[in-house]
């Protein structure tokens, strides 16, 4: 069960990153994704897709992530903005 859940989260994070809901990994900084950041990203994705905002990678959310779609990110510039914010903080 844990393995399946890990796979689901890993795929979800990859999808959320690809479409701009999570920042691209910063090669200059070792950083873990917090549970809260992930839940926020899922909630944003759910709101964008018109799904109930559970903040969890539930079946409806995963189904939506498997839908054919446009390659462009939904949240443009998020990763760039976050990188800038992180740089400012440092």
């Amino acid at each position: 069960v844990r393995s399946s859940n890990g796979h689901k989260i890993s795929k979800g994070v990859e999808w959320l990153t690809r479409y701009g809901y999570l920042p691209q990994p910063d090669p200059m900084a070792a950083r873990l994704q917090t549970q809260e950041e992930l839940a926020d990203a899922v909630r944003t994705m759910q709101r964008f897709a018109g799904l109930p905002m559970t903040g969890k990678l539930d079946s409806k959310t995963l189904e939506m992530m498997n839908q054919p779609r446009c390659s462009l990110p939904d949240i443009i510039g998020t990763s760039e903005l976050m990188r800038r914010r992180r740089r400012r903080r440092r």
């Binding site: 964008f48 897709a49 443009i76």
Partner: protein, 434 residues
Amino acid sequence: YALSDTVWKKKDLTWHIRSFPLSSTLPHDHIRNLLFYAFRAWSNTSALTFREVHSEDADILVDFSRSYHDDAYPFDGPGGTLAHAFFPGEHPISGDTHFDDEETWIYDPENMAPGRGTDLFAVAVHEFGHALGLAHSSAQESIMIPYYQGPVGLPHQYRLPLDDAMGVEQIYGKRHPGFHPDDDRPALPDPTAPPIPDFPPYQPTQHTHPPSPDRCKAHFDAIANIRGEMFFFKQKHFWRMQPSRNLVSLEPAQTLRFWNGLPHDFKAIDAVYERINDSQIVFFIGSYYWVFYETQVNPGYPRPVSDLGLPANTVVGAAFVWPHNGKTYLLEKNQYWRYDDQLGHVEPGYPKSVNLWEGVPTDLDDVTRWNDGNTYFFKGTQYWGFSAGNVQSDAGYPRSASQDWMYCQGAPTSSPPAPRHGVGGDKGMCICQG
């Protein structure tokens, strides 16, 4: 709606298809036509104009690509990501639009084939929105929602949802009231290619009714068995006979209100038949033909009959499928060609003389098969029956077309009265529905 950071600094944009799908069943002209209408969706509501050019210097270059294709968005095979486009700007790739060549691109405006492919027009409208500076929208009715939602209807009737119309108007302004939609028709990429035909303007209501022809005078322009029903075309009207041999109405219907996509100024239809391989319906007028899916013309028509392998100025006066061999025959005056619907070309060794079918005159109005398995040849007020695959007219013909098919009493006939066949009402009166 959501806007990107960049916009085009001009309002007259050019586009060019640099590569076509490798394996799509959509002909190149259909693809051009669909993309033309996808651009038109955006120019209909904004001050933008679009012009197809035969040059890679175009503002918006369209490609069908696979896998990694020299940008940051590699494709992933069937499903998953379908397409993407780059926002406006000064970079050479700005505005360029890429479709995943491993998708099955189809034209399916009425969603008749769900799951069998991806509707190119719907995706193109979305991607061109990006190429103009719109980002993804979270409004569920928007065309800019990132997920593929299926077909969006007929390209020439498509109108942008309000959310998207407001977005593009905010960037480029509203369309000038004096601007005519045809101003941005695509230029031909190849001077030797036939022009891209346009869909007729959509007219939900017609205020003038052309005078109705008299069904009892026969002299039909074209007759066809379509989905088991017989259609008798005359001038700009038709009568429709159900498989039970009842006329749907004694009054003819207007052809243009039923068959959507024929030219509005046509005088008469020369021939019609239902294709045996895909059940699409082919109309011939003059030296052009139109192919209909149900009652809607396919994009890319009309096409010249020379595409079928006929001499350029041939006017097909009759077209039918001979049940004996399942082949299609195209007749012009006293000659005919045998046509292979699978190959899309007439067979070698033609034309030949129509005297193959004995007992009928030349220059027929049309020929068609009825549900009894027999084939009927029509000319003027008369018709001739051929049983099964016989090439000799059955005994008792010619008979009166208006009496036997239009249920007209006392209509002239050149043969002695014969018992009527088929199912009519008492004393030969028809039973009408509606």
